[in-house]
Subunit: 427 residues, 4 copies
């Protein structure tokens, strides 16, 4: 299913006047505060978030999975789903593939399809947390960290293959997330596991094309329940430094222990020029993979505050970030969930752009936490929806993408096209 | 120091037009959605939050305390500080005293003073977590739960005395927070400690005047670091039920384990007609006692959603709640901190009042979590500051109370009046 | 595969002298302290732990599952596996079935098989967290709590059927664990969900045979990631009270928020006569379902301290507890994992039985936490393996069951009998 | 008060036979397993733990402090208390001073006193979390990180002075723990605060004598409740690397977020040759500063496993660790608490030394988590008290130091000597 631009215009039509009215009012209010509203709208239009191919089907937990219907059954259909999101939101112009779930049979054809839909290929993702069919070694006890050289060799070869596939599609980076760890004390020798991981990553890094980057993800637990080799940003950064200049740390919002100050980690990594990518989601307990902004929108705003600051104070040449949503859609329609996530990201970004950085700096210099809080809250409490909607309208997207999605009966149509029983590959 | 109404009017004057403009715009927007804006403004005007007497001085941690200057050195001065807050915000019309820190020498005079400043007396608070000067028994190992009958008797007598003092001032309730617990396994017999606590609370309850209520607070840890006798709402409710109809559970936002769903606890207690009071603050790690709304404003909104729902669906006759701010002002001017807290509470309340309860119910009945989220977020993302400011303006308060506080140089004036070295009683 | 008693005797033979030597030495040491060692050995022999049928196959996470080989493919084989465990340990004399995974085609035959292997039927478990094949309603959004009457009716009927099946097998209790909850704020009306759950449980309770009990499990999160209807012991107890005398709370060690003092909950529930059952496992992060005692053996000991105390001070007539291991065997051979869990439970129990309760009470009365700690640690630091091994030897089990399991090449034999590809039903 | 060696011998006398009997039995058992028991006893005799001067008085919380009586009122008395502990345990042969609480008036005399009591001077500790009397700048908003150059200069100068004082006493290292951080979002500019801290630490490092080391402590929160500049080991290591070869990370067991795998951090730091020191305590919730081993003895054992492994596989030339107890004695007699902590440390160390490292390695190489767990648990479940007591006996300490402490009525004697009202400096 495709959504024609004209169809979107049609849906926008009756809302245009109201949108103009609200944008005008807010714009005036903000201009009075010295804010360049047009500039913010353009920044919002520029922000593009990659959609991972595995997020387009129903997710599940270890207790089971409930189907949704109309899930994409092929790589082509996954790209079509991303295109659909992009048409509605104009914020999802890239897809992040996962190998082996998304090996293209005909890379050129897939590339062409994506180009025709205005979709680019973001980072590719390797998988060494499940056993590949028909291969010799098992990842049950680890992959890049395993005590067995054969297991490590298989995992390294897989990562190299992922890079090769990505290269054919035009990706420029690989994200390595490892489940490697231990579920019981004593199971692993911590130091050996870390050393093996470093050695393996270096081999993969050596295979990178010259214009590629490698992102190293960290996570404290799950699916390993006692220790994880790359348990935190400190370990990830250490490994990135051991690999080389084009290796970076990737932050996933859900991959932290309770109460971690994530925004501080973001700030530190950008200060060192080593923040590579960002996986958005939200959570209350662990790596819950909920809709972005559904639980802690203020934390998301504080993180965006650091991201914006880091991009504007980039003495360490931190590269442009690879943004991606990494969520699991257990009970919501995946596409609706992603629309809500994209909206939450743009809202947080817009609010962060509103922060009066001069006043904030002044409060900080004066050790005036009361005023610093006022500055941040003034931005956060502003209703920025007119800005976000204006950016989308100008880009040709739907002013209200979720309403449009429902008005167009997209899911019904997808079920009609694809059936109720297809299961997308993914978690 | 007192702030004259005329002074506040003067400060409001240059802001009136802008406020009217913004209120008018927002009001129109909301009325289009079928919302009765005038009703909400009135509800905001009605919400009064008690200020605890111990929150008017600088707080500290076990690592030390930094003075602020101009702290209130007497009960009279504490009441004056509350009056000052109330004059600026019109939201702080009550004070909650703590015995023995605030024993009035002349209750009638104090009552007169408070009345003249439009301040009433909310719940009184007992203290059995510090050793009283000149008494025989120590609370080092517990009070109402202690193994020694003499300790328990002393603690019970103290609570009765607190009730007696409160009665003279016009209070109608007592809040019992117990530090009782153990810092080491084996230190306490859990069951005996709980039984002693129940017996002691029943004795105190029996001393309550007929129109009084008792609020039983719970907390999982600190200052006891292994176990706390009243560790959670379940224990508190069990004790309240054992005492009688006028005993209730009190929820303090900071008194929960990591990741607790507090709004669900609120809903359950109101459903059973047993939520007595509420202590507002915010926290990232433990009982951090930070400014309300400074860390998790969305959680605060979700809690207010339940409070509003509970007040509107009150089949169990839950009594009107005792609202109080319970924060510690370690690095902010306490009065500025309280102004920010009062603002955050009103904002959360206003947003909760905006929730389209019919649409929410419909989404819930349809098992449509996407739409339920839209309904909540629509309310939360609305900028309600014009409503809150309108409520304050109409009540005679400052449109921007923090700005007014600074414009009036209140702290400087208080230091001038009271000196830099006075230390308020409290934590 | 069955393990003959004579085979076990044969394996024990070369270890008998050493065991007698160690038991003799320890016994002497303990008798000097006034401990009745023979009594403890008998208590250890009496402790029987149920094995849930779903724990006999490989467990997994949402990221995947690694097969083990030789998993039981039928109810008969599951019972044989439990019998195998029981033969080796003499501590696993019961099985806890899960419906619909374990519906017996011929209840009488199954009962006969179990009896021949000295296995009884513990609590039966219902399942409303996955969708039953061929039924009309989905549990995607809840079961006993759902907004739809049809869903609730289906879930209630299922629970009644589970009771009926259990009755045929000789079970005397049903355990109800509900995944019901919400993954997003607003998704559920907390109060309605709780009321529906209470009403549904009452219907199920009404179906209980007169000599049956109902156990109501609680859990704070997973698979719901925002709220769970029965989130804590307080809610579970409230529901048990609403059902009736034979409804009880069930504690699963993994179902708590970080840092919860579980032993205190155990003490409180036993004090009220409302602790029904216990699910053993261990965890570092969440409901990790690791081998009992593999992460926090001291906490397990403290819990057993309360269990022993509760059984010896049973003024409230708490019924005998239903003990069960509830773990997930993701990377260990399930049978080896269960052998380790059974050992850890017996060790914790033995240590708890060693506690000098008179000295502990004295320390508590004297507010002497130093001595209370000494008493507990003296018991915990004692090497009780000779007692546990003696109890097993006398019951006809293997002195070293894990060594025996490996010496007998059980897994190899099971793979030979059942194949490598069979997948046991379960998580 | 001093405890004569002869007095200790006298107290040991009636226990010697029993101790010999138990040591003999255990020794035999262990020798059968190929363990060199004499070597372990010697290693236990060698382990010396520093006592911080601030741990000798009653600790407290922000809610208050309960006095104990007989607290040391001077540096001399603090050293006498450490000597007392050392006489009883022979494990506490060093004291760690805190400046400005322990500035010696006559360094030579203090050194002589300590030498006469067999006490050496471990790391000195600076304090920039409280305001120094009579100085110009306040640390209310930070010290080494502060926005004001004057504040930073004062804090740097203080640290240099601490080094100078330490040098006079024979210390060889300084521990820097910073409370620097923020209690509210926006209060600090994360990057600037980190940069200032790095610059300041470098200045202090430059002042180190050539044979000195610097230890940089980390902590996630408290007393700052939103962010801490050195929030985790990653940040500490980054700063240590920025300072130079003789700067190291210091791990305090209580300074971690919930569920952190601390033993993995220890392993990583030793692998990199950057673990400088260790602060022992225990905790259930946060930085509870409880008696070592009172809550999670198995975690302590796992940490010692890594420490032993790291000392035996020291390719990175990690220097000998600075061991210290850092606890707060809120309700226990501080000296009794420290005796219990010293015992728990030695027990954990002894158990770690018992680990069959060859079998563990084999299990790890074979991906056999069941056997790895067996190896660790076999060591942990062994009752090593006879080894620890033997080590102490041979060193001239009390076989049962706590019993000796009570038999000698030490506290009573100290109160007699020093009075009940003296308050030791410290937390």
């Amino acid at each position: 299913m495709k959504v024609a631009k004209s169809k979107i215009q049609e849906l926008n039509e009756p809302k245009l006047e109201e949108q103009a009215h609200r944008y005008h009012f807010l714009g005036n209010e903000l201009e009075k505060q010295g804010i360049n509203v047009e500039r913010i709208v353009r920044q919002l239009m520029d922000l593009q978030i990659a959609i991972p191919s595995w997020a387009l089907g129903a997710g599940g937990t270890r207790f089971g999975r409930f189907r949704y219907g109309g899930e994409p059954g092929s790589l082509e259909q996954k790209i079509e789903d991303v295109a659909l999101l992009h048409a509605l939101t104009r914020a999802a112009g890239a897809v992040s593939l996962h190998i082996p779930w998304d090996i293209p049979e005909d890379a050129a054809a897939i590339q062409e399809l994506a180009a025709s839909l205005d979709i680019t290929f973001d980072a590719v993702n390797s998988n060494t947390f499940q056993d590949p069919k028909g291969q010799n070694e098992t990842y049950k006890f680890g992959s890049l960290c395993d005590t067995s050289e054969a297991v490590r060799a298989q995992a390294i070869a897989h990562n190299k293959e992922v890079i090769d596939i990505g290269e054919k599609l035009g990706s420029k980076s690989i994200t390595v997330w490892l489940a490697d760890g231990a579920s019981f004390p004593g199971q692993n020798n911590f130091r050996q596991a870390l050393q093996h991981t470093e050695d393996s990553l270096q081999e993969i890094y050596a295979h990178l094309p010259a214009d590629w980057k490698m992102y190293i993800e960290y996570k404290p637990y799950e699916p390993s329940f006692y220790s994880t080799v790359i348990q935190d940003w400190g370990t990830s950064l250490m490994l990135a430094n051991a690999c080389g200049e084009r290796a970076y740390t990737l932050v996933d919002l859900g991959h932290h222990l309770p109460n971690t100050n994530i925004e501080q980690i973001v700030a530190t990594l950008m200060m060192k020029g080593k923040l590579g990518g960002f996986h958005f989601n939200d959570s209350k307990y662990g790596d819950d993979d909920l809709t972005v902004g559904s639980i802690k929108p203020y934390q998301l705003f504080l993180i965006f505050n650091e991201l914006v600051y880091g991009m504007e104070h980039n003495e360490s040449n931190n590269p442009p970030l690879a943004w991606m949503i990494d969520a699991s859609h257990n009970i919501k329609d995946p596409l609706e969930d992603l629309i809500q996530s994209l909206e939450a990201i743009r809202i947080a970004y817009a609010k962060a752009l509103l922060i009066d950085s001069r006043a904030l700096k002044e409060a900080q210099e004066n050790n005036d936490p009361v005023m610093a809080q006022e500055v941040l809250q003034a931005a956060f409490r502003t209703d920025v929806r007119p800005l976000v909607q204006e950016a989308r309208r100008r880009s040709g997207g739907a002013i209200l993408p979720l309403a449009a999605y429902r008005a167009l009966h997209v899911r019904k149509q997808l079920i009609k096209e694809r059936g109720s029983d297809v299961v997308a590959t993914g978690l």
